[in-house]
């Protein structure tokens, strides 16, 4: 393995770690908004790290270009989706933990 491989390994592992942390956050956090917080932040970082790691492997080829496309797309759509989701949830009557009183799983039965 040359240094490029080592670098890739490092970035992919780190990316994997962040992604995993995001996953744990999605399960452990108490309400929707905190879960979103956990996932969207770590997702962006983790994905980016992994994809860059892959780019290092493929050099200046069409493949790298495609990976860039993927990365760009994830970068743009991730936050948009998060925004939209939060917006919809808020409009739909889901309030963050501290703001609501009582019934927390209203969204399951009511929509």
């Amino acid at each position: 393995m040359n240094w490029l491989d080592w670098l890739t390994a490092l970035m992919v592992s780190a990316g994997g770690f962040f992604v995993f942390v995001g996953g744990v956050g999605a399960v452990r956090m108490p309400d929707l908004y905190t879960r979103m917080h956990a996932t969207s932040l770590t997702d962006t970082l983790g994905s980016l790290l992994i994809l860059v790691g892959l780019m290092l492997q493929s050099g200046f080829t069409l493949i790298t270009l495609k990976i860039v496309l993927v990365a760009a797309f994830l970068l743009v759509t991730g936050p948009t989706a998060a925004y939209a989701l939060a917006n919809a949830a808020f409009l739909g009557g889901q309030l963050p933990e501290g703001l609501q009183d009582g019934a927390s799983d209203d969204g399951e039965t009511q929509p």
């Binding site: 390994a9 592992s13 994997g16 992604v19 999605a26 399960v27 996932t39 994905s47 759509t77």
Partner: protein, 108 residues
């Protein structure tokens, strides 16, 4: 091997996301989980494509990313249109001052 480590992390995260999707509790949690799973699948595909020695299959990852986005938008649009309909129904209820049958919702 190095891709496998990343792929393993991503798969485990997928499992966690799936857990969230199954647990809910609200529909928004499920959407969040779906979105998360979609992103993870993109990563998993990219990683395994490299691990299998076929990096040209990154095309698939692009498709997944696109489709995932469209899926989430579709869900949101579903919410919005439903919320709108609910608002209409509420308006209709207050206007007629009574229950409205399931088949004739909306001001007509």
């Amino acid at each position: 091997m190095m891709f496998a480590v990343g792929a393993a992390a991503v798969t485990i995260t997928m499992m966690l996301a799936l857990l969230r999707a199954l647990l809910g509790p609200s529909v928004y949690d499920r959407v969040l989980a779906v979105n998360m799973l979609g992103t993870k699948t993109v990563l998993l595909l990219a990683l395994t494509a490299f691990a299998m020695g076929r990096p040209d299959f990154i095309d698939l990852a692009i498709t997944y990313a696109l489709i995932n986005f469209i899926g989430v938008i579709a869900v949101l649009q579903f919410f919005y249109s439903r919320d709108l309909r609910k608002a209409e129904e509420r308006a209709a209820k207050s206007a007629h001052g009574g229950a409205v049958g399931p088949s004739q919702a909306g001001p007509q």
